[in-house]
């Protein structure tokens, strides 16, 4: 399994989260922001160093961190390392690079890896471990992961039976954006099951309050098509269950089997239904040429009511838009088949170590604690973790709170973005391309057959 160097889907997610942070810090230029930016300095003195004593005295040591997160979002990361630095005396050297995905591989292969890399996908993690330069995580990190994360997360940080990296940040993809005001004015209810979602959509068509119920767009430069892969993953997860989903991702069942076909047909009931799409943006084919960034905006203009996209989409609404449960726009959980099941599709990042010096081990361990998750949450906007020790009240925005609540829901079954885990030939080529062809008219069977055919042997 090899993730490819540039992961647009991820970059997009990153840009999104980055944007959220920016948008919110701009929007919240009032008191809360001030206390936050000023607070990190002030709290430096007020830090309770007791959770850090176990790491010992690491004065004069330094740890280099390499990540894809760049200015301004990286500030929150740097701030979140402060308590650790102040209490242990270690210096954290943070370096962000937009072309992280390619650079980190090059650096690892060339024998010049960072001490810690913040890796955004399991596929890339596997590639990095394959270079032979990565160091398995300490038992303490493993214990933290067992304690604070659900079981499936440990799997993503494990390569060939060895546990390498604990997750840190996470994002939620199983969301539908909508306008709470519009719902309230027309008496629409947030659906609790897939059937209800369908009924709601049909009701909207009948009511004619808006041109079309759904908005969609899958254009994203060379990554055009990825939003369809998210839709499909969500539906495989819902219609066939997590076990089948895992088999599907690992290609233990063929891509053109009944599960895929059913899921894609189910997606097609929405995306390829001319009565449902594409409010303010054209016909079904316009989905292929509408950028995913623009796709959900007609909700605000009353051209459509629903848009399935990840939590990071909040960043795409104009500054000043109230993104909240009682605001102009918000998101609800894309429901499961029934109210009992709660499948959750998302992404995340992992802290991989390339050195086993004590200070690196200590820092990697710190990053896997609830202490760090809470420090990070209190200094950043648009950031969530699946760490169960995360205090949701510390999160900055309603959408972050929603995402964290969903992640911590004991009933939730989390699954990592499937196309991110498939071989690059599928996950970042055939799947995208065929999904785009599917939107522009290709039938479901041909689409899944073509993807199956492209699977590396």
């Amino acid at each position: 399994m090899s993730g490819q160097p540039t992961r647009p889907a991820f970059r997009v997610a990153l840009a999104g989260t980055l944007g959220v942070g920016l948008a919110f810090s701009l929007a919240a230029c009032g008191s809360s922001d001030d206390t936050k930016s000023g607070g990190s300095g002030a709290s430096a003195q007020a830090i309770d160093c007791s959770p850090y004593t176990k790491y010992g005295d690491l004065k004069g040591k330094s740890v280099s961190v390499f990540a894809s997160i760049v200015t301004p979002e990286d500030q929150a990361y740097k701030d979140s390392y402060k308590p650790f630095e102040n209490c242990t005396g270690v210096t954290i050297k943070y370096e962000g690079d937009k072309s992280f995905e390619t650079q980190v591989l090059v650096r690892a292969q060339a024998g010049n890896p960072p001490d810690i890399a913040i890796v955004p996908q399991p596929g890339l993690l596997k590639q990095l471990v394959a270079t032979g330069k990565a160091v398995p995580a300490s038992p303490e990190v493993g214990a933290n992961v067992d304690k604070f994360w659900s079981k499936d997360w440990r799997e993503y940080g494990t390569v060939d039976g060895k546990f390498y990296a604990a997750p840190s940040g996470a994002s939620i993809k199983s969301l539908v954006w909508y306008s709470p005001t519009f719902f309230k004015d027309n008496g629409y209810q947030v659906p609790k099951t897939l059937d209800e979602l369908k009924t709601l959509t049909d009701k909207m068509v009948a009511d004619k309050k808006i041109p079309k119920p759904w908005c969609a767009g899958i254009s994203s430069g060379e990554a055009t098509g990825w939003p369809v892969t998210d839709w499909m993953e969500d539906f495989v997860l819902r219609l066939s269950g997590p076990e089948t989903y895992d088999k599907w991702v690992k290609h233990q069942i063929p891509f053109n089997g009944p599960e895929s076909t059913a899921a894609l047909d189910a997606v097609g009931q929405y995306l390829k239904n001319p009565a449902y799409v594409n409010g303010g943006l054209g016909d079904v084919k316009s989905i292929a040429t509408t950028t995913f960034q623009d796709a959900g905006l007609p909700i605000l203009e009353g051209q459509c009511a629903l848009h399935r996209q990840a939590s990071f989409y909040a960043a795409n609404f104009a500054k000043g838009t109230k993104v909240a449960e009682d605001g102009e726009v918000f998101a609800f959980y894309l429901p499961g088949k029934d109210t009992a099941s709660k499948p959750l599709l998302g992404g995340g990042e992992f802290n991989l170590a390339f050195a086993d010096r004590p200070e690196v081990k200590a820092f990697q361990q710190y990053l896997s604690t609830d202490t760090w998750a809470n420090v990070k949450a209190s200094v950043s906007q648009g950031w969530v973790s699946a760490n169960k020790g995360l205090d949701i009240s510390k999160l900055g925005s309603p959408i972050d709170k929603l995402a964290a609540t969903l992640l911590q829901d004991p009933a939730a079954v989390f699954r990592f973005d499937g196309s991110d885990q498939m071989p690059a030939a599928i996950g970042s080529n055939a799947f995208w391309k065929q999904a785009t062809n599917w939107i522009t008219g290709q039938d479901t069977q041909t689409t899944v057959n073509n993807i199956e055919k492209a699977w590396p042997k």
């Binding site: 090899s2 490819q4 160097p5 540039t6 041109p211 430069g221 060379e222 990554a223 055009t224 098509g225 303010g280 943006l281 054209g282 016909d283 084919k285 316009s286 292929a288 040429t289 203009e301 051209q303 071989p423 690059a424 030939a425 970042s428 080529n429 055939a430 391309k433 785009t436 062809n437 522009t440 590396p456």
Partner: protein, 307 residues
């Protein structure tokens, strides 16, 4: 660095004296260039050819399978078809437009201004030009509350038509991408051909005119034969540039909607799909396709020089 290398070369060259060592001196001066060619061109070239016989991860030898894929896989056949379209249409149309324009504005008033107009697109990068044209082709539905932002669709709406999704319909979209290349390259063709036209001796033109040759005859029997070498250079240069076209496709459609060409597919396979073998094979194919054009160009140059 450069000075040090040159110093060493000069020193070595200086040590060997005498007439029969002229050859050695010549090679000493050539050596760095040859070395750089070997490291930067020959070695990667051979390595690419070698890799094209291997599978996606370059682990096992699969013979000509990658080439078989290029010529049998439906997706790859579309790529080949598009490349053929590009190479057949672009050089001829761009050259024809350039030539027509050069003849029309020749000795006209405001000639330099008129030339600057058509030459300007040359100054815009391929990516920039692609973004401009993407706006020209942009689609918005024709419905209340929605405004057209694409020039082409706005014109169609003005004339009462339905806006079209220009970049989605294959193979029309490939032609619309070719328009961008023609838009860029016509200026180049015009400049070179205009210079060639101006170089035609006045007495030939005078003599032809005295013989009562009409405008068409003048073009057919005087202008065209006189600028033939320039036309060949322009055609082949644009032809090679077109074979390598990548930026336009990548920026405007990303190779989606059946618009991919060899150079773009090579990139996709190598860097996105992680299929190194197929990527290498596509690169080799591109190389092979360029060879005849280059050979023709060199031969033609030689022929015209020896005349």
């Amino acid at each position: 660095m450069f000075a040090a290398v040159m110093g060493v070369i000069l020193f070595v060259a200086g040590r060997v004296g005498g007439r029969r060592n002229d050859r050695v001196v010549a090679y000493a001066y050539l050596a760095p260039a040859l070395l750089m060619l070997a490291v930067g061109l020959v070695y990667p070239g051979i390595r690419t050819i070698y890799q094209s016989f291997f599978d996606a991860s370059l682990q096992s030898f699969i013979g000509l399978d990658n080439y078989k894929t290029i010529f049998t896989d439906p997706d790859q056949l579309v790529v080949l078809r598009n490349t053929v379209l590009w190479v057949v249409v672009t050089p001829f149309v761009a050259t024809a437009i350039g030539m027509l324009y050069a003849i029309l504005v020749d000795k006209a008033r405001m000639e330099s201004f008129a030339k600057a107009l058509i030459f300007l697109p040359m100054a815009i990068s391929f990516v920039g030009a692609s973004i401009i044209w993407r706006f020209v082709y942009t689609y918005r539905p024709d419905q209340p509350g929605v405004q057209q932002i694409g020039l082409l669709n706005q014109i169609i709406v003005w004339f009462g038509g339905e806006p079209q999704q220009w970049l989605v319909e294959s193979p029309l979209n490939t032609f619309l991408l070719i328009v961008v290349m023609i838009w860029i390259q016509s200026g180049f063709a015009m400049t070179v051909l205009s210079a060639a036209i101006k170089a035609i001796p006045d007495d030939i033109v005078e003599a032809a005119r005295l013989d009562g040759v009409g405008p068409w005859g003048m073009f057919r029997f005087v202008t065209l034969p006189s600028i033939r070498p320039a036309v060949v250079v322009v055609l082949t240069t644009i032809g090679i540039g077109t074979l390598k076209v990548f930026d336009i496709v990548r920026t405007m459609t990303g190779g989606q909607f059946d618009t991919s060409v060899i150079a773009n597919e090579f990139y996709s396979q190598s860097f996105r799909s992680d299929n190194q073998g197929l990527g290498a094979a596509l690169a080799v194919l591109l190389f092979i396709l360029v060879i005849p054009i280059v050979v023709y160009n060199v031969r033609h140059l030689r022929a015209s020089e020896s005349r």
